[in-house]
């Protein structure tokens, strides 16, 4: 039963994140069609059909994700509370899901390619999609200011969909535009819409933060506050790219700016997805304002983050608990767990032993040495003076082997748990996946750096994987309570995540921007610097 609940709990979070993403794409497409394309003076039939096609596909994916989410959450509720089906069906999340599913299918039905003009009828299901999402947001469960918080959440999500969800349609529009001048006009119109959306998004976000975070101390003292701050930082990165786009649209001849516009748009979409998923991760955390005890203090953060010599000596495997899962279960049974609330299928958390902390610090510090070396070599290679420095991606092989050996000491080859048995554990599986990911990085990027890969797509593997890794760090598991150790660990992971996202998308822009764009040379220096800084942050990582 516990395993079943764990699997469905895991799936329901996955579906929730995907639902928010596809919701933004479907609603963003509808707004784009109505306010950007419809007003275009020239014939835009092909573009309208392309937008309708992608709106249909997004709505279909949204419906599929909603159905999956409702099913997974219903199964968890039914199994964990032994609840009759009719009671489950009356739950608020089921009602919200049904509204979302019916709205998505209405969008599919109304967005047939054969229709030509007038898309006002699509607005109603778009509003219903946002409403269904608000019904499963924090706002609906609040005890105070429920109605205004629901309204701000709706505005925040609608503005996010208009801006970030509209961006892929802008790229489609630029690609399909009959002339460069037409594409420039569409881009200018989207820029205006994006400006309004950003203003609404930021204002609503600020008001929601006042209610959910509540104080400056909660920003750095809780997981929720730290994640909100991360969202704001990524939002700043997006605004910077948006400003570059805005500048491009309003100056220079159309023919020379479109290629740059597309590339900045791609990076914005990537960072935008990261922001949406950070938001999805926030919905699973208790608001900071609710957790007033055991917050991390400024002096605790300074004490933890201040520079300290790296740990290059590791405790032996024998010093670690033999079976971490059994130790956790035992701790739970005797009531020594540090959290009182958890989700079905989880067993709560157990404080790490000093040996486990030392083991983890050793892992981070050696990884830091490897990553810092790679970053510095990449910087040297970019300068073009030392040819062998281009082989820097080979260091990833060492990192992968290190990760494979050290990330789960209780499992094969260091520990007693067999290789196949460990694959049933999602956490171990994730670590194994990372080890394979690092090898993929090594192979692809080494081939790119040494000129063995000519295709554009192959060159993009490295930036995409780096950016994905950064976003993964942001959506890593969070504590439900204010567990100081977990909050402090998260605070040290956030800079890593932001640096990785920046490294990934700056490398992407270096590869994709046209050679005449001057930003390209800045991006070429930025990503190796970010990698070197990741190494520095890892070297200073501490758990005690």
């Amino acid at each position: 039963m516990a395993r079943l609940l764990q699997v469905f709990g895991f799936l329901s979070v996955l579906f929730r994140g995907a639902t928010l993403t596809f919701q933004s794409l479907a609603v963003g497409g509808i707004v784009f069609l109505m306010f950007v394309v419809r007003r275009a003076e020239e014939d835009s039939a092909a573009l309208r059909h392309a937008c309708l096609r992608w709106i249909r596909r997004s709505a279909l994916a949204l419906a599929a994700m909603q159905i999956s989410y409702v099913l997974a959450n219903s199964i968890i509720l039914r199994q964990s509370a032994d609840m009759p089906l009719r009671d489950v069906l009356g739950a608020n999340f089921v009602l919200a899901g049904v509204i979302g599913i019916v709205s998505a299918f209405t969008v599919i039905a109304l967005s047939s390619s054969t229709r030509s003009v007038g898309y006002a009828d699509l607005l109603l299901p778009a509003v219903a999609i946002i409403a269904s999402s608000v019904m499963t947001s924090h706002s609906v469960a609040r005890l105070e200011y429920r109605a205004p918080l629901m309204a701000f959440t709706a505005l925040h999500q609608a503005a996010t969909a208009t801006w970030l969800g509209g961006l892929p349609y802008l790229l489609i529009a630029i690609r399909q535009a009959p002339s460069p001048e037409f594409a420039r006009r569409l881009s200018a119109r989207f820029s205006q819409l994006a400006l309004v959306s950003v203003a609404v998004l930021a204002s609503a976000g600020f008001l929601l933060s006042l209610a959910y975070v509540g104080s400056v101390r909660a920003i750095y003292g809780t997981s929720y506050g730290a994640m909100v701050a991360t969202k704001v930082l990524l939002f700043g990165l997006l605004l910077f790219l948006g400003a570059l786009n805005f500048q491009l649209v309003h100056r220079g001849p159309a023919s020379s700016i479109l290629a740059s516009l597309k590339r900045f748009g791609e990076a914005e979409i990537g960072i935008g997805i990261t922001v949406i998923l950070t938001a999805a991760s926030l919905t699973s955390l208790p608001p900071a304002a609710d957790l007033v005890q055991d917050r991390v203090t400024g002096s605790e953060i300074i004490a933890r983050m201040s520079p300290h010599p790296p740990r290059f000596g590791s405790p032996s495997v024998q010093e670690l608990p033999e079976d971490a899962y059994a130790a956790q279960k035992k701790a739970f049974e005797v009531g020594s767990l540090s959290t009182e609330s958890y989700v079905p299928g989880q067993t709560g958390t157990r404080p790490n032993t000093p040996a486990e902390k030392a083991w983890s610090e050793y892992n981070h510090h050696w990884a830091g040495v490897v990553v810092l070396t790679m970053g510095l070599l990449a910087l040297i290679a970019q300068a073009g003076r030392v040819s062998w420095a281009r082989n820097w991606p080979l260091a990833f092989f060492g990192l992968s082997a290190f990760l494979f050996l050290r990330s789960d000491p209780e499992t094969w080859p260091l520990g007693p748990v067999g290789f196949w048995a460990t694959l049933a554990d999602p956490e171990v599986l994730l670590h194994r996946f990372f080890a394979v990911l690092v090898i993929a990085l090594a192979v692809f990027e080494w081939r790119v750096q040494t000129g063995r890969v000519a295709s554009d797509r192959g060159r993009l593997v490295f930036p995409v994987l780096i950016a994905v890794s950064g976003a993964l760090l942001l959506t890593h598991s969070h504590s439900l309570g204010n567990l100081k150790e977990e909050v402090l660990a998260e605070l040290s992971h956030i800079p890593l995540a932001i640096l990785a996202v920046t490294a990934g998308w700056s490398r992407w822009l270096e590869l994709r921007l046209p050679t005449e764009n001057q930003t390209r040379s800045v991006m070429a220096r930025l990503w190796p610097l970010c990698i070197a800084l990741i190494g520095v942050v890892l070297l200073n990582y501490r758990e005690m």
């Binding site: 764990q6 709990g9 895991f10 979070v13 996955l14 994140g17 995907a18 993403t21 596809f22 992608w54 994916a61 959450n73 509720l77 964990s80 509370a81 009671d87 739950a91 608020n92 999340f93 919200a96 499963t136 947001s137 924090h138 609906v140 469960a141 609040r142 005890l143 892929p168 489609i172 399909q176 979409i269 997805i273 990261t274 949406i276 998923l277 999805a280 919905t283 699973s284 955390l285 208790p286 608001p287 609710d290 957790l291 009531g335 009182e340 609330s341 958890y342 989700v343 079905p344 989880q346 994730l430 995409v464 994905v468 993964l472 959506t475 890593h476 598991s477 969070h478 439900l480 309570g481």
Partner: protein
């Protein structure tokens, strides 16, 4: 690659990335703020009023309180229908002196499910 095919690949990549990125946060956000009996407290029996207050609105119809005895036997407690929106209340009656655990599971109004346990001891009055 044709533009349509390329768009489709981009869409799949977008979906896969979205799915991949949103995997780890297995958590929910209804947390227990206070409880009576409190964690590891001693209360006098045989009748013990139970009250759990959370940080958000709770769907009481779809929430559960279960009393676990030392021998592992479980008794579902009937929830009071007159509790505030953020509170679960019940009364455990006829409890003999000894150790108990109160297992709770709540469905928050936003659809998140959370659970936990409160160990406590009943003393003879």
């Amino acid at each position: 690659m044709r533009p349509g095919r390329r768009n489709f690949c981009a869409f799949i990549l977008f979906a896969a990335t979205a799915a991949l990125l949103s995997v780890p946060p297995a958590a929910a956000h209804a947390v227990l703020l206070e409880s009576s009996p409190a964690q590891k407290s001693a209360v006098s029996g045989p009748d013990v009023p139970i009250k759990l207050r959370f940080n958000v609105r709770i769907d009481a119809l779809r929430s559960r309180l279960t009393l676990i005895r030392l021998d592992g036997s479980a008794q579902a407690l009937e929830l009071s229908k007159r509790s505030p929106a953020d509170t679960l209340s019940a009364e455990a009656t006829g409890l003999a002196a000894g150790a108990y655990r109160l297992r709770w599971q709540v469905l928050a109004s936003d659809g998140h499910i959370t659970r936990g346990e409160i160990p406590f001891t009943v003393t003879s009055s």
